[in-house]
Symmetry: C2
Subunit: 340 residues, 2 copies
């Protein structure tokens, strides 16, 4: 119907204006700035309906309208695509990320890049261990009864753990252990690797048994423990700029970012195949994020995701732009990790 359609245009216009001006938007201003082809009075009627349906609200009687979470949701789902990045922005992505030295460098550049592109807080998750594969296992003897186990994955991540051995360890045994470990695990997905440990125990030569048991235990712990999933956070300075959107108190949000609970949101979406996920305001279960939106997407090489990255900002944000930026950066990072 003609009405419904125009009403959605009105909603879109409200979201766009409100995002750019931060002022509740009134019917008159709307009629002036957008070619809706109707008078303010008509727009007022549409607004009344939109308000009744819960898409917009008034901060107080006789103020302009402001989108609700539900309004942003509709806007994101049906009223906006992804705003294509400018050439300058695309070039910035390449310039920023090329020449990274190692994994940590890639991720910290990514987070700075995202923060700069979107002017929001950027969050990047380290590649999940379980989705990558073992490239190499290294064993270094650091004391007579102490080994350092270093796990190198095909995503360039390096994990290290100290292993306390039950007894003094022979040099030759270390070499043999190293060979045995690599023979067993090289190329295995980390998710599967833990399951190989029992086999390893069986096939190990007798004199290595106890050693393998100790190392195996630590290895399993390293492989399955997802608590160590690290996060890189950047751009918190951008929060100061939009402090007004958070009713003055940045505290809970900063705390949440440090607690790294946000990562749970980022993680819970890796299965979707490359779609950008937007969580708006109250949709974020966590209370500290009730005034914030999270735009996230999984990155990875090829079909499976290695981790998530995204941004956190006020619900009043430029969704089309941010969604495009997040997706573009994720794609580029995915490529980069596939190469190295």
């Amino acid at each position: 119907m003609a009405h419904d359609d125009r009403r959605l245009q009105v909603l879109r216009a409200i979201v766009q204006d409100y995002v750019s001006t931060n002022d509740p938007v009134g019917s008159k201003a709307l009629a002036e700035r957008h070619d809706l082809g109707v008078s303010p009075a008509t727009i007022r009627n549409d607004m009344a309906v939109l308000e009744e349906q819960g898409y917009i609200t008034q901060p107080h009687t006789s103020a302009g309208r402001v989108p609700t979470d539900k309004g942003y949701r509709l806007f994101v789902d049906r009223l906006s695509g992804l705003k294509p990045l400018s050439v300058a922005e695309r070039r910035a992505i390449e310039r920023f990320l090329d020449g990274a030295l190692d994994l940590h460098d890639i991720l910290s550049r990514t987070v700075r890049l995202l923060a700069q592109l979107t002017h929001q807080v950027a969050v990047v998750q380290y590649p999940t261990l379980s989705r990558s594969a073992v490239r190499h296992l290294e064993v270094v003897q650091v004391a007579t009864a102490r080994l350092l186990l270093v796990l190198i994955t095909d995503t360039g991540r390096v994990e290290q753990r100290l292993v306390e051995c039950p007894a003094d360890v022979d040099r030759d045994d270390v070499a043999e252990l190293r060979a045995l470990l690599n023979q067993t695990f090289a190329g295995a997905k980390l998710a599967d690797a833990a399951g190989l440990v029992p086999d390893l125990l069986e096939t190990a030569p007798p004199q290595l048994r106890r050693l393998v048991a100790a190392v195996g235990a630590v290895l399993v712990e390293t492989l399955v423990e997802p608590g160590e999933d690290r996060l890189v956070v950047g751009g918190t300075a951008n929060l100061a700029r939009v402090a007004v959107d958070f009713s003055g108190s940045l505290r809970p949000l900063l705390e949440a970012l440090e607690e790294q609970v946000v990562v749970l949101r980022l993680i819970s979406e890796v299965d979707t195949g490359g779609a950008v996920l937007v969580r708006i305001g109250e949709e974020n279960a966590h209370e500290a994020l009730s005034g914030a939106s999270v735009v996230s997407v999984g990155y990875g090489s090829g079909d499976h995701a290695l981790g998530g990255l995204g941004i956190v900002g006020p619900t009043r944000m430029d969704y089309p732009m941010n969604m495009a930026a997040v997706r573009a950066v994720a794609r580029y990072v995915g490529q980069l990790l596939a190469e190295s």
Copy 2:
């Protein structure tokens, strides 16, 4: 002289009161809360002198007095010691740091601990490479003409670099290279290690020459490049609590923390033997820190420092407490790193 002495007591009282209340402190309140043994009128005279000398100032006529940077400096240098930590605080340090898994874990725990103890932003520098020694060098062949060089230091830091080789590499050569590298570098201070590369080139068997040259180049780069000095920052949420001290705008400070220029301040003091360094307000050359103070100290095992750690907060902070906390944490971290 009696006057001078009492004037300093007055300054100390002003700093203490102002730090705890955040209100400009007046002569009457001062006389009530402290046993200075004189009347408010006398205190007023002292205050007038202190103001003339530049130790305190009035926000506006007929308000109380507030310490200047110079006033805080005098307070720190001559009027306060380090407030001993409570038993609970000491215990918290142990509880927090014991059981750390690896270097990154130690440092991120440290930064959280410091932030929690001081209620300020905490900053910890990764151990400087040049001060630590090589524990092990690992070479992993990741493609026919591509090696991954992993450097493990005695402080538990792991650095990794890809090496592009001039030609395909033989498996046996990799093993020989590994042995050669460890034989040459094991135990060497990283600062000295770069100097050993030429020797290595001379003594290497002929068939390894080209390989050693490629690896050596990357190794030198890794050893001398101090730009990679990483920083762990935490407790930024604490800034929100003291936002009022920064005239409302946290922006520059947050930006400075992200730019990691603060590390320069932290680094520039490692030579001093364990003394806590305090930089107050304008003493920090960087403009964004003009309203902030930095309390820092070097940490390390034994005589030489491995890196710096400290806190950043408003000039209006509890210096005795924060200095004590920073020193205690640095000592504990130093011990911890010496053990592992």
